[in-house]
């Protein structure tokens, strides 16, 4: 068993850390405060081939693997979970299904500009009445000559309104239930497609979370992703990979909160000595670090499996379940270690705590992860 990262992965970590410190951290508080989408960061990430890390060079990617991609999301999320999720949703939820299920023409037309970061991607599955019950899709797609006509509404779509290319799921055959769902590649300018409400969120406030509205939206027939009826399978497989990204985001948030806490308790003096000299707090920090290390191994293991063609459905669910739990726990403790200051916006840990919560909810709630894990164990 080898726990060493490759030289490439090590250098990618160094570069991502430097990039995150210099380019992302300085605006993290501001985009949280204002809810502004950090478009300039996306452009910078594109310049350095960070927007398509695990895809082959011939499809516009960096020619890397899923561990390198997880490291990138992790390092960004240490300082800004918003930036972490922008990259994760784009890479895992938009690029990957096209890479995995797209035709050569679709890859040429959509994957290349996405993986190069010239275009931003999003994924639309959730609906007002189809959250965890993703099979209960009400958006419909009807074939009409050379086009599908889409009608319906998507909700809570990450990168919504900012993205250029959307992977959209819709019912092509209601009678077949989940087997009647199909996936489509939808461009933002297609007639009948508009952006509805932009959510005002507790955390990851710089990322855009939008409602997508389809009113007789015209999607060319050749933009069907996979075959008719494969949509649910595509969505579930895509989310398996997406969970690795979100698990990496949760891991990064926790690591960032621990770093801030260690820095703070070494500086903060009470009773004439730094907080770090109090054993009760030392134990808290030790537990936080241990949980983070365990989460990290689960995340990298899931990414390793994905990159090496091994099953990763259960592993990704475990990584996300555990890392999200650790993120919530560690950030809560980080606020506690900061005391009253931790509850203010003078320190980043309150933001990290708000950001952490979403990792227990999106791309499958923690309860969904438990369902996935149990289904693997009990089949």
């Amino acid at each position: 068993m080898d726990f060493k990262l490759s030289k490439e992965q090590e250098m990618i970590r160094t570069v991502m850390r430097e990039f995150a410190e210099n380019e992302v951290k300085p605006i993290a508080a501001e985009i949280d405060e204002t809810g502004r989408f950090p478009r300039e960061t996306v452009e910078k990430m594109a310049r350095y081939h960070m927007m398509g890390i695990p895809f082959p060079v011939e499809y516009g990617g960096a020619g890397g693997d899923d561990i390198a991609y997880a490291i990138a999301v992790e390092e960004l999320s240490k300082v800004c979970a918003t930036t972490g999720v922008i990259l994760s949703a784009h890479t895992s939820l938009a690029c990957w299904p096209i890479y995995e299920y797209g035709t050569e023409e679709q890859k040429q037309k959509y994957l290349i500009p996405l993986a190069k970061g010239e275009k931003l991607g999003a994924f639309g599955l959730t609906e007002p009445n189809a959250g965890t019950d993703a099979a209960g899709q009400q958006t419909v797609a009807v074939l009409d000559g050379d086009n599908y006509i889409l009608n319906g509404t998507k909700l809570f779509i990450t990168n919504g309104g900012e993205a250029d290319i959307y992977i959209i799921f819709a019912m092509t055959d209601k009678a077949k239930g989940s087997r009647g769902i199909s996936a489509f590649i939808v461009e933002k300018d297609y007639p009948g497609f508009s952006i509805g409400k932009i959510e005002d969120k507790m955390g990851i406030r710089g990322s855009s979370t939008a409602e997508l509205i389809f009113r007789d939206c015209v999607v060319p027939k050749e933009n069907l992703l996979g075959k008719e009826g494969e949509g649910f399978k595509i969505a579930m497989k895509t989310l398996d990979g997406g969970r690795i990204g979100i698990a990496a985001q949760a891991l990064g948030i926790a690591e960032g909160a621990l770093e801030e806490s260690i820095k703070y308790i070494k500086e903060r003096q009470q009773f004439g000595r730094p907080l770090s000299k109090f054993q009760g707090l030392q134990w808290m920090v030790a537990d936080m670090a241990t949980a983070i290390e365990a989460a990290k191994l689960l995340v990298y293991r899931a990414a390793y499996n994905k990159s090496n063609g091994l099953p990763y459905n259960k592993e990704a669910a475990m990584a996300k379940l555990y890392a999200a739990n650790v993120a919530m726990d560690v950030t809560t403790k980080a606020v506690q270690l900061h005391g009253g200051y931790g509850y203010t916006k003078d320190y980043p840990v309150e933001r990290m705590m708000r950001d952490a919560k979403i990792t227990e909810i999106y791309e499958g709630t923690s309860q969904v992860q438990q369902m996935v894990i149990a289904a693997n164990l009990l089949r």
């Binding site: 250098m11 570069v15 350095y48 081939h49 960070m50 890390i53 020619g63 990138a72």
Partner: protein
Amino acid sequence: MNIIVCIKQVPDTNEVRIDPVKGTLIREGVPSIINPDDKNALEEALRIKDKYEDVKVTVLSMGPYQAEDALVEAIAMGADEGILLSDRAFAGSDTWATSTALAAGIRYIGDYDLIFCGRQAIDGDTAQVGPQIAEHLGIPQITYVKELELLDGKVRAKRVLEDGYYVIEAEMPVLITAIKELNEPRYPSIKGIYEGYKGDRIKILSAKDVEADEDNIGLDGSPTQVNKSFTPPTKGGNLEMLEGDPKEQARELIVRLKEEKII
């Protein structure tokens, strides 16, 4: 146009500690980085490559095998090729021996119009290697450059002085040493990291390969002898912090300096 950039892999001195007994750097567990001024040198070469057609940037370094990581990083930033001079014969080189080796490497590469070096390395602070290379090669040099312009067959540079700058023009080929004010180095690209580690763009060469003058390389070829490294004892004296707002502090300082007849 052919550009050669000399870089050095150094321990990140932000994270380095000094052995209190031996007076030397404790290198264990300290990350290695491209020397910061050398990154500015590389960045300037890459900007020329971005701006003009048919520019080839070759990165040259001398060091142990692990210095290959620095060349990979340079390739990931956009350099075309890397050459690492790695040989036991180079071990223990001072600045003279290092510049002899690098000049041999440059002659081996052959065609060049511009050579970039960083002003100085953070682990040595000598600022000697760049100028010495120019002397070995018999070409002009402009050191401490904060701004560079390419003209027809020559360069125009702003060379920084303590309280101003010279504007200097020189015919190419010319050697430039870069300071951090010259530019803001880019990051390595993720794709470039994978390309760099494929290894086919990096050559590792020995002293013989580049026909380096054996009498002037390595420890034996180094005129500098280090007898002892030590941290000078801090001089005693009274330290007093002045109180008040900046204006009051300044007023107080002037009074004190006058009292001491310094001004």
